[in-house]
C-alpha cells in the first residue's frame, strides 16, 4: 500500500513540476501578450494542484493521516485564477493594442468590456408602499 502510494505520488510530483516549468517557460517563450496569459494557467492548475494533492496524501504515508487543509488553498487558487486572468485580459484589451483585431460580436452591441451601458438618471428602487 505504502509502496504503491509512494510511486503514485512521485509520478504526480514529477508531472506537476514539469507543468510548472512549462508554464513559466511559456511565459518567456510566447510572443503575443494575449498568448502569454495562456501559459501560467497551466502552472497554477496542474502544477500547484498536484503539489497540493501530494501534500494531502503524504500524511497517509508518514502516518499522520489525510490532511484536509490543502483543499482550502486548492479551492481558493482555482476560484481566483480565472478572475485574475480575466482582469489581465481586460487590461490588454483596454490598452488599445488590439484595436481592430477583436472579432465581431455578431450583434449590434460592442464587446461587453467596451460597451457603455445607458445610464439611468436615478436607479429605480422597488417601492415598499404597496
Amino acid at each position: 500500500m505504502t509502496g504503491a502510494l509512494d510511486i503514485i505520488l512521485s509520478i504526480l510530483l514529477v508531472v506537476g513540476g514539469l507543468f510548472a516549468l512549462t508554464g513559466s517557460y511559456g511565459l518567456i517563450r510566447l510572443k503575443d501578450r494575449m498568448q502569454r496569459l495562456h501559459a501560467p494557467t497551466k502552472a497554477s492548475t496542474v502544477g500547484l494542484g498536484t503539489a497540493l494533492l501530494v501534500s494531502m496524501f503524504h500524511g497517509l504515508m508518514i502516518g499522520t493521516g489525510f490532511s484536509w487543509q490543502e483543499v482550502l488553498v486548492m479551492i481558493f487558487i482555482f476560484v481566483t485564477a480565472p478572475i485574475t486572468a480575466n482582469y489581465l485580459s481586460k487590461v490588454h484589451l483596454h490598452s488599445r493594442h488590439y484595436d481592430g483585431q477583436t472579432p465581431q460580436t455578431g450583434v449590434s452591441r460592442d464587446w461587453a468590456t467596451f460597451d457603455q451601458a445607458p445610464e439611468d438618471a436615478e436607479p429605480q428602487l422597488p417601492s415598499r408602499d404597496s
Binding site: 510530483l13 506537476g16 516549468l21 511565459l27 518567456i28 501560467p40 500547484l48 501534500s55 482582469y87 489581465l88
Partner: protein
C-alpha cells in the same frame, strides 16, 4: 522515491521562478509584469507546499493560504489601477 521526486519538483518550481523573474525584468508592458508577479506567487506557493511535504510538518499551510490571498488581492488591485486609475472608487 518520493524524496527524489520532491527534489525534482522543487528544482522545477525554482527554475520557473527564475524564468518569471526574467519576464518581470524584460516585460514590455506593465500587464506583463503583473502577470509575471502573479505566476511568481503561484510558484512560491508551490515551493512552500513542497517544503511542507519535505519537512513533514503541517504548519506551512497557513503560509501558503496567506500567499494565495495576498497574491490575488495584489494582482486584482494592480489590474484595477491600470483599468480605472484608482483601486477603490
Amino acid at each position: 522515491m518520493i524524496t527524489y521526486a520532491l527534489g525534482f519538483a522543487l528544482v522545477c518550481f525554482g527554475l520557473g521562478l527564475i524564468l518569471n523573474l526574467w519576464r518581470l525584468a524584460i516585460g514590455p508592458t506593465v500587464a506583463d509584469r503583473v502577470l509575471a508577479l502573479d505566476t511568481m506567487v503561484i510558484n512560491v506557493i508551490g515551493i512552500i507546499v513542497l517544503y511542507g511535504i519535505q519537512t513533514g510538518l503541517g504548519i506551512n499551510f497557513e503560509a501558503a493560504m496567506l500567499f494565495a490571498m495576498t497574491g490575488f488581492v495584489g494582482t486584482v488591485a494592480f489590474c484595477k489601477y491600470l483599468l480605472r486609475g484608482s483601486v477603490i472608487e
